[in-house]
Point group: D2
Chain length 328, copies 4
């Protein structure tokens, strides 16, 4: 890594987009300070893509991002922005980048944000670089996204508490974690809380198998269980009722909600924010665009934005097998 | 307080009953060690009243309650036990106390447990003393119950995280906390997170007022809000939809689940467990029964079990007024 | 409690002084919002008494104290200010209050701050009211100070972690908590972590007794122990060495440092901040001064600033006796 | 990874040795359950190497390691054991393995433990495999050790609290973290709390540079700073005094103590425990010994115990440079 001072480029913009993730502020701080150090002027666009469409913009300086490394959320705010999917919205964003003289734009967000970023990159000269930040960890090309580790730990701490009650009452608990389409969060949470059963969208759901595992455990004298389920696996409320009916054991459902998106980022989420933010500025300094800063096999590197958007990140099913044996 | 050694009585039993609460283990530890110190033999009944009905019993010693002060849940387990409401169940419990030679029984639980304890006390010579432990804080006669402070802090920490997302997305969040009939938890949580609106069962719900408060705030530029609602106020899912329809602002619902019941007890919940557990043994040592150890205006004292069961604890509505002004 | 709007007075000032305590920000928020609601203009003096001496002052509004209820520290900053003890410093503070038209001043701090406040109150027409906020809980006249509950919980969480190591290594651990002159923090922390020994400045220290307790425990097979010691009890480093020499057991010292002063306030510290801040404004609204808002036997009330400053708050030694039995 | 059932080997022993680390229990659980699943009998040796020397041994089963994944410390206890460095001690350990019929021994610990393990492996037929677990992260050959992530997060949470006080009082804080010889912990903690200065044993300490950085910051109006220092850099107490003398700014020292070793392991420490524990059993199943399970560039693999013991793990100084720019 070199920290040389960029000269040919002048202004870097930052936008946080899509669902918020813990560590987005640490990433804003990293991009702003690294960019300033390299001689860039930095602009923050507010409220996600809405900020580019409506020109909600403000300067960012090393001082203005002080004291935010430990804060959840994003000081730039974020929205889901359907207008960005319209030709008019896209055009306005292109004009906004031009009128603000933005040479490079760092997009901090998840796969939805990156698809919009890709579309934008095909219509503007501004170099677009992505920094993957989402609790879902579902961005192809990076082993981990900013915020994932925090969300996992938040869920683990919640479930450690729920297990107190599960054991005291000898109950079955279904704990639904975020993940509409993907099971990265559920798999890692399930493995690290020692869940008896983990249900993810990637594996076809078989109710019979769930009932049998619970009944087998009960036969061995284990009358409480934690089932970690991604929200995308289907109707968990119905599942709770079905389990009670089929096993005769009291079953409760707990849906871990939006707290999974918030909270002070863990050290690892902050670390990734620092590294990936630094990498993003480096890419722009080298006058490259259409890239995503990422972590691959422990190394900070980059891949094509186009590649990221066209690939599906595979869930390591081996983890589920390991979790299964560890919970015996 | 005197710590003299009891002589006339011999055996104290302990049962934890109803919903579990953080600090129940600290209370078990306190009763066991104080009772041992005073010369009693101690027996633990397992699985709530079920333990008395089915004679699930084991000796407790100062060593066997070692290392539990910081644990959530209850090592004696607990159940909701409908059989205790039948004459047969009650009779078996009476017999169980007699056959185990239990001179005094400490019942650690909430108001439902105390009603069963009262019924039991009228049928047995065993001295029955209650130790109020429930996250709901709805036991009349005590200013605070074991577990309440922990549940409040758990909810506050969750909502502090949710606020990150609320502000970042400029959304309205309804956070539903436990409390089917009473709003003690919702009121204290709402006050201490700085909730814009607090909804409790004790105050008739007016949707119009909620919409207006949100619209007034939005007009002043405050586009995110936290609404803390006790589960007993009605359909919070419908409320979220109604708010969106009436205010045009994105609204989300987060139901804080069973984690509120678990987790390591706060210092205050442990402190109360120590004091109330000690008081319970003192009452039995003085050969009194039909009492509840309690905290009144900062003083550890006791009241009649019958009085507790016949009163409804009032919610201090002044707290809601104070919260309202503090959230302006 | 009445929330009428004050009319005869116009401006309330706020200063945070002495060591910071978690909940000071919640108190600033409470005083500012309650005062605004009652029709006062609010001024914040920065850097403790230094702000009055050097006229570091800024307006506070309900909006400017938004989002601070959950933050540790104090947005007004604080210092220890020897100049306030000089006639020149005091005169400047008096002039500052006059030139800013401050009708009532709320002093958020501990006993040192209150002594300066008393001296100031005797030289100015400005009504001076104290809000007790210190982790030491050593303010006479109030059962609890803002920040105490947070500091206790911070220490308890630390010691719960240290106990992991103590048990794993079968070691004796001395944990030194804050408290140069008083043992409120040590006593409550020791009781609620289940410390085997608690050492406070209020009880003459006897090394022999410590050695004997440890040796007795070891004889019973209990080879690890937690000793919670207030910093004021003497040289804990020497004590660790002496214990090793006298008992033959590995002994370690851990000094819990400044983290005890920081961190997000607990619900209880926030609650007290709301109540005591509200009370302070009420006192000023009623045109009273020279008072301290306080909590007595569960009731929010007030006492004379002079009384507070002339009394020493007693430590309830009964707590130590209770802790002793509970740790058997 | 294959989960075939081992047949040729019969008994696996487990020992935790050296300083304890969060996640050791998760590793004990993983080794026990994976080994049981593969058909091994499992024995736990207690109190580190002392357990092999004195034959402190007990059977471990999938049930007996239930409910420990979230606990700090080690249920097998650990000691520093000088006797293991004597020929007599070593001989007794060899005999103990033979008399208990231990075919494979999993040593959970740090580099000191691995040196003893290497010496042992040269004297016994028992296959010896290491699982790196130490908060110091100083085991060569693995990118990360079990417990490191937890210790980093514990320190980060502490320092986030200390920063409240640092800012409120406008003070310089030196925070000393563990690391007698190596700066892995200090570097990662410093980077992720946004420390203004990081001091590690690997970089020669220059007091002048520290003073100048602080004075430069003060000139820019930044009057508080966090200095994260590994304990191995020298006398931090003297440094605090020197900074005060040279910069005129109030400086405080906070030594983060043994809490860094304890506490519930983070998800990542638990995950690593699961993977490395699994790998260790796999190695033994394949009848290999003299290996260490490790993480290299995101992949779970193994290296020679001899290699680990002969290499020094380098600290990535680039991290310090990055931290430096990010703290500007």
């Amino acid at each position: 890594m070199s920290f040389f001072i960029g000269v040919s480029l002048k202004t870097i913009g930052i936008v946080t987009s899509g669902g918020d993730a813990p560590g987005m502020n640490a990433a804003i701080r990293a991009v702003t300070r690294i960019a300033s150090y390299r001689g860039f002027k930095v602009l923050g666009f507010e409220r996600g893509w809405e900020g580019l469409i409506s020109n909600f913009v403000r300067p960012l300086t090393p001082r203005s991002v002080s004291g935010i490394i430990q804060l959840g959320g994003t000081i730039l705010h974020t929205t889901r922005c359907p207008r960005m999917e319209t030709p008019e919205g896209m055009e306005k964003a292109v004009d906004c980048l031009a009128s603000n003289g933005v040479d490079g734009l760092v997009v901090i967000g998840g796969d939805g944000s990156f698809r919009a970023a890709l579309a934008l990159s095909e219509r503007t000269d501004t170099l677009i670089v992505g920094v993957p930040a989402t609790i879902d960890n579902d961005v192809a090309g990076t082993d981990e996204t900013i915020g994932f580790d925090t969300a996992v730990n938040t869920a683990v701490q919640e479930i450690d508490k729920i297990r107190d009650t599960a054991i005291s009452h000898e109950r079955i608990f279904i704990v639904e974690v975020m993940g509409r389409k993907r099971g990265f969060l559920a798999a890692m949470v399930g493995l690290t809380v020692g869940a008896e059963i983990i249900l993810v969208p990637e594996v076809p759901f078989k109710a019979e198998k769930v009932f049998n595992t619970i009944k087998d455990n009960a036969a061995k004298g284990k009358r409480s269980a934690i089932i970690v389920a991604a929200e995308g696996i289907g109707d968990t409320k119905k599942l709770a009722l079905d389990i009670e009916k089929n096993t005769g054991l009291e079953t409760r459902l707990s849906i871990l909600g939006y707290a999974q998106r918030g909270g002070s980022p863990t050290a690892r989420s902050r670390y990734l924010a620092g590294e990936l933010g630094n990498k993003a500025v480096e890419i722009i300094s080298e006058e490259n665009g259409g890239q995503v800063a990422c972590l691959q096999n422990g190394v900070i590197t980059s891949i094509d934005l186009k590649t990221t958007c066209s690939m599906e990140k595979p869930l390591d099913l081996r983890l589920l097998k390991l979790a299964d044996i560890l919970a015996t």
